[in-house]
């Protein structure tokens, strides 16, 4: 674990480059124009990706690089340090890699926008905080990244802040994340109470070594729930998912990078990182599993009825994340991580494809006004096709492999509700992706503007991502099918899988093959049904009132508004009107009024007539006299 000095400066370079970059683009963006900013941003990201790659290939993991003592906490202290181990390296590779591609894409997409410099400075700041989140060695460091990421998502969602809707969407995202962060903070406090330290390797060592008294167990259980709440907030799971669909108000590259590939996966990374802690409490893992499954199924049902192309992709992201949490909950972090990586590729691809479609149709986002674009935008069409097939789980693409891995684990767990949820969600995923695919690229063109293919900067990124999402499957090709499971072995040093398939090898191969066939069949069925339903789509659908709740997203937003926001506003008004207005001001003004009222009476005593004063003195004397007279002993 000793630090080599050159590794230390490389790590520092990798993390600080985006930070410096964001400062540069923000201040010099206007002065030096778009060309300088775009070249600068992409090169900075590429350089940072190169450093991470260098450490990935050369360093002996796990590698801990300590910079300085950051937070003195009474006896122990938190040091500002980076921890390079398989988990963090894998995610940071994805972050910087996909980040670079998306930066390249964004230079084309944002061309001509007034806030060009500002956009890239926020994007770079986001990458910096994401790296902080993944690489930091201590929980507070992780939390710093966690908050940074939340901040950048807010800034980027409400990038076009002139429009009221974008601004409120940004606020909504930030506030919901804050609720999640509250859970995370609570967890940190509990952990500190129990372990007395906040650096992650230290905590995990004491967890594996020590046994815990009843009291400690209570606190660690509370910590786990806190972490789950934080993860749910950041990765948009059931209670706190409402912000993600509204986050689509931001520019598409932002959705692609933040709300598909990187930020939303932070929750999964957190759960995998703190897995030993979760293993202390299996009921918490169960909670995670059910949360994931329900979210997946729920989001999928909503996605079917969305007409806005980006909203569909948002809900599909939520459901895929549900899958990942399901995997983590079942104790198969490797499957979750693998799905995370593959999802990053094909979801980024889908978003960027949708972006180029919107770019081509001059910011037209409603699918009902699209159709027949396969001839006008061939490259986007072919890349989107690969993405749709991948997410639908058509073999041999990466989506199929990772989802099959998760379904295999779910099946292994023999919890039939989870299995049912998982398979129906798989079918619905295939159906709504197929719907999207057909409505945008097949049938007659229902739009107003003349569509045109996007410039090479955007289409080149689409092609690369299409290739990645197609070939990503080989990363963790299961042993049963002759694969080497490189990712599994790579991660096994940090996390261990819970379910060991005890069956004999022959039976295992036979069951996994049947499972693979079943899942691919489900996917293909979804696609074909969608094809036949929307082949000659004319424009309106689901008109009957029965579908009203689905289209309105189960009125969840209105529900939250009714329960939380209205009460908060009422409570606020109460505080303002009653407590502040009546009690505090009342007491203040009241006492002032009281003083002035009594003084008006007392003022009559001050007549200025000397003789009246003498009279009062005399009366006082009399009273004293009578007092002496009565008080005589």
């Amino acid at each position: 674990m000793e630090e080599q000095s050159h590794l230390q400066c490389i790590a520092a370079l990798a993390v600080l480059l985006p930070l410096v970059g964001s400062a540069l683009w923000f201040s010099l963006g206007k002065k030096f124009g778009e060309k300088f900013v775009s070249i600068g941003a992409v090169s900075f990201l590429a350089l940072s990706f190169a450093c991470i790659a260098y450490i990935f290939f050369t360093a002996t993991l796990p590698l801990r690089i300590n910079f300085f003592q950051w937070l003195p906490l009474g006896t122990s202290s938190v040091s500002f340090a980076f921890l390079f181990d398989p988990l963090s390296l894998a995610l940071s590779m994805v972050v910087t890699g996909v980040g670079t591609l998306i930066h390249l894409y964004a230079t084309g997409y944002m061309h001509g926008d007034a806030g060009f410099g500002r956009f890239f400075s926020y994007l770079n700041l986001f990458v910096f905080s994401m790296l902080m989140l993944t690489l930091s060695d201590s929980l507070p460091g992780l939390f710093l990244g966690w908050e940074g990421v939340g901040l950048c998502s807010y800034l980027l969602i409400s990038f076009w802040f002139t429009d009221e809707a974008n601004a409120s969407a940004g606020k909504k995202a930030f506030i919901v994340n804050r609720v999640g962060d509250f859970g995370f903070l609570l967890a940190m406090f509990c952990i500190f109470k129990v372990f007395g330290a906040l650096s992650i390797p230290e905590i995990l060592q004491t967890v594996q070594a020590g046994n815990f008294s009843g009291d400690d167990l209570f606190w660690t259980r509370l910590a786990c729930f806190g972490l789950v709440l934080g993860a749910a907030g950041k990765s948009a799971q059931i209670p706190l998912y409402v912000w993600l669909p509204d986050a689509m108000a931001g520019p598409t590259p932002v959705s692609a990078l933040i709300h598909a590939a990187t930020m939303v996966t932070a929750g999964v990374y957190l759960c995998c990182r703190m897995q030993p802690l979760f293993l202390l409490h299996l009921d918490v893992l169960n909670v995670i599993a059910y949360m994931g499954a329900i979210t997946a199924f729920f989001a999928a049902t909503i996605a079917i009825f969305q007409n806005d192309i980006k909203k569909v992709l948002a809900y599909s992201t939520i459901s895929q994340l549900g899958y990942m949490f399901l995997a983590v909950g079942l104790g198969a972090p490797v499957a979750a991580y693998f799905h995370l990586i593959t999802h990053a590729f094909f979801k980024a691809l889908l978003f960027l494809g949708a972006g180029s479609v919107i770019h081509g149709l001059h910011h037209e986002q409603d699918m009902r006004h699209m159709g027949g674009l396969r001839t006008k935008m061939p490259i986007t069409f072919w890349c989107m096709t690969i993405g749709v097939l991948a997410i639908a789980g058509v073999p041999p693409l990466s989506g199929f492999v990772s989802k099959d891995e998760i379904l295999h684990n779910v099946w292994g767990n023999h919890d039939w509700t989870l299995v049912a949820l998982a398979f129906t969600t798989a079918f619905m995923t295939a159906f709504y992706m197929g719907r999207l695919w057909i409505m945008t690229f097949f049938g007659k063109f229902r739009g107003h503007h003349e569509a045109h293919e996007s410039p090479w900067t955007m289409t080149s990124v689409l092609v690369i991502l299409a290739a990645a999402s197609a070939l990503a499957g080989i990363l963790n090709w299961p042993h049963l099918w002759g694969g080497s499971e490189t990712l599994g072995t790579y991660l096994s040093t940090v996390v261990q899988a819970l379910i060991h398939h005890a069956e004999d090898p022959a039976h295992a191969l036979q069951s996994s093959l049947t499972l693979a066939v079943v899942s691919s069949l489900v996917g293909l069925a979804g696609l074909t049904i969608a094809y036949f339903r929307y082949r000659n789509f004319s424009g309106e659908e689901f008109s009957s009132p029965a579908f009203r709740p689905f289209q309105n997203k189960y009125y969840i937003d209105e529900l939250y508004d009714a329960i939380v926001v209205k009460n908060l506003r009422m409570f606020g008004k109460f505080l303002w009107k009653v407590v502040d207005g009546f009690v505090l001001d009342g007491v203040l003004n009241g006492s002032a009024a009281l003083a002035s009222r009594t003084s008006t009476y007392l003022r009559q005593l001050q007549t200025g007539l000397m003789q009246q004063y003498a009279l009062w003195i005399w009366i006082g004397f009399l009273i004293l006299l009578l007092g002496a007279w009565t008080g005589r002993s």
Binding site: L602, Q604, L605, Q606, T607, G608, Q611, A614
Partner: protein
Amino acid sequence: MSAPIAYVLFLSFAVFCFGACGFLIRKNALSLLICLELMLSGVNMAFVGFSRLHQNEGGNVLYFLVITVAACESAIGLALILNFFRLKKSVRLDEARALEG
């Protein structure tokens, strides 16, 4: 001389009360000072009475001090009244209400 002390004290307090009452009723500054002198002479009576009761000169000495103070006080009071008269062209106490609350 065999008058009881109670008579003397009652007399002195009566004179004092007359003075005080005059002090409160009268409207002009001059009568005020006159009543003040009356009050002081009432107090002196008590001193002399007690000195006679205890056959000790202390009371008379105190009488002397009170009489000097009375002289000074009336002198200064009259000077003030003169100034007041110059200022307000009258000695009515109603004029002296500047300190009204």
